[in-house]
Amino acid sequence: MSERLSVRKTYKLFIGGAFPRSESGRTVIVNDAKGRLLANAARASRKDVRDAVVAARKAQSGWAARTGYNRGQILYRIAEMLEGRRGQFVEELRDTGLGKAAAAAEVDAAIDRWVWYAGWADKIAQVTGSANAVSGPFFNFSTPEPTGVVGVVAPDSPLLGLVSVIAPVIVTGNTAVVVASEPGPLPAITLAEVLATSDVPGGVVNLLTGHRAELAPWLASHQDVNAIDLAGAPDDLAADCARAAADNLKRVRRPAAGDWTADPGTARMTAFLETKTVWHPVGV
């Protein structure tokens, strides 16, 4: 008796809530740790970057206008959906070469990270905002606001690292265009399937697979991108991207060696927040 032949998944891009192939028609071969073919993943082009930025921009004001409570619920929903697909992610991580226990631990940590960030949605303003005691008859307050569209060059940690850079960007109301890990792109696309079924509005997260060195510079130079997180960019690419980002004064978060399992703190959120200060006279 022969074993049943499995149905393989086509790994495509995730742009504006849809799963298109790359407009270039090109793919990259993704093998497992033993060298067996896992997929021909889409190899995104500069035009896919362009389309993803359009989608992210379109979604941004609506996403930012949601209440913090609502965004928090949606991020928590992502954790729920991820939990439901726990086994699948463990398998995909094992394909990248992780042992069974390590893969399981990484998936657990990724789920927990969504939960952690979900709770920040309606609290970050209380931590980073302030009422300012100015010397005069004015009420003066500062509140954090999302920077806008954030380009993210994801680190190689294919799930925990990815979640750890996306969640802090979107929880505050930014939208993201993410270049996934180059060696481990498949969990990113499976994560996109989770996002697509978690009430995350289309365009809030856009995921591109392909070559970092090909895609990141287009994100860095794009005039309608407000900030860029270079977490997964090697030093020379990061420097080039930072230079290109200067053209429209993008906020740049440089790569820094870090342990993705550590307490993330608030720095990744505040890196992509603007402080708005409002004055109003106090009188009768």
Binding site: G136, P137, F138, P281, V282, G283, V284
Partner: protein
């Protein structure tokens, strides 16, 4: 928006009046006070100061409004009004003497031929709490005794209760009683509290026929302030722009020093404009101010600081 030219003659409905007053642009307290404070930093020196001091003297409504006022006190005040500095004939006379209505006859007699006006407070000054016929009688008596100007108070209670029509009708009635006699309408801004109310009351008084709008009775604190006067000057400026009719302004109460007076003149100059820089259009209701003006004037002409002993105390 109602046609303003008909306001004074034709009856307008209370709702129309309320709608109009509420439709006036609001006043932001902090911004108005900031503007007044900034104008108060103007530095008026030498020739400008000399000009301002004489102008201020000519704008003074020399006032006594005490229960203890007597004919003798009023006669002394009138003498001072006509010749503020007997030692210096170049000092201008003041604009008017302001007294209670029962002392108008005394003042009119003393001021005959001097060109100094006789202003009488009327209409149950300072509270305004009396029936209309009493207010009218008060006014009539003052005019009969020789008042050339009537300083009436509005019914602040009615204003604060939103009964603008009652306030309006009273002013119209008093104005009718006045005829050609100049009517100054005292808003008592210290009781109106907000600048929005000051602006509305200013327009209400102007629409009803006031010749002057005046800040205060001097019996309520705060009396005149720079920002209140600023708001009233904006009102007369805007009223003239819309109707062609020029209305005067009189801050009263609390103006004691030359420095204060000059701040008011700067306010007039840069808000309503130079057209208002005359006793016909701007008055300072005060009592002790005059001596300080005289003292500063002498300092400018002699270069020596004076002392209160050299100026009469009436």
């Amino acid at each position: 928006m109602p046609d303003l030219s008909t306001f004074a003659e034709a009856a307008i409905s209370p709702a129309e009046l309320r709608g109009f007053l509420r439709g006036l642009p609001p006043v932001d307290q902090v911004g108005a006070e900031e503007r007044a404070a900034r104008l108060a930093t103007r530095s008026i020196k030498t020739s400008a100061k000399a000009y301002a001091i004489d102008l201020a003297i000519s704008m003074v409504d020399l006032t006594t409004l005490e229960g203890a006022d007597t004919p003798g006190k009023v006669r002394a005040l009138c003498a001072k009004a006509a010749h503020p500095d007997p030692a210096d004939a170049s000092v201008p006379k003041v604009a008017a003497v302001c007294v209670y209505s029962d002392l108008v006859g005394e003042a009119a007699g003393a001021l005959k031929g001097t060109g100094v006006g006789v202003a009488s407070v009327a209409t149950a000054f300072p509270s305004g709490r009396a029936p209309l016929d009493a207010k009218l009688a008060d006014t009539r008596r003052a005019i009969d005794d020789g008042a050339s100007e009537i300083d009436m108070v509005i019914d602040r209670g009615a204003f604060l209760a939103g009964d603008y029509q009652k306030v309006y009708d009273e002013i119209v009635a008093i104005k009718a009683e006045c005829g050609d006699v100049h009517l100054k309408v005292i808003l008592e801004t210290g009781e109106l509290v907000t600048y929005d109310n000051v602006r509305r009351a200013s327009w209400l008084a102007m629409l009803a026929g006031a010749d002057f709008i005046k800040t205060s009775t001097g019996k309520v604190s705060p009396a005149a302030t720079l920002p209140v006067t600023l708001v009233m000057l904006e009102a007369v400026r805007d009223f003239r722009a819309r109707t062609g009719r020029q209305i005067g302004v009189k801050p009263a109460g609390g103006i004691r020093t030359t420095k204060d007076a000059i701040k008011y003149l700067v306010l007039v100059n840069e808000t309503a404009g130079p057209d208002w820089l005359s006793p016909d259009w701007f008055r300072l209701g005060a009592s002790s101010l005059l001596n300080d003006l005289l003292m500063q004037r002498r300092k400018l002409t002699t270069g020596v600081y004076g002392g209160p002993d050299y100026f009469t105390l009436d």
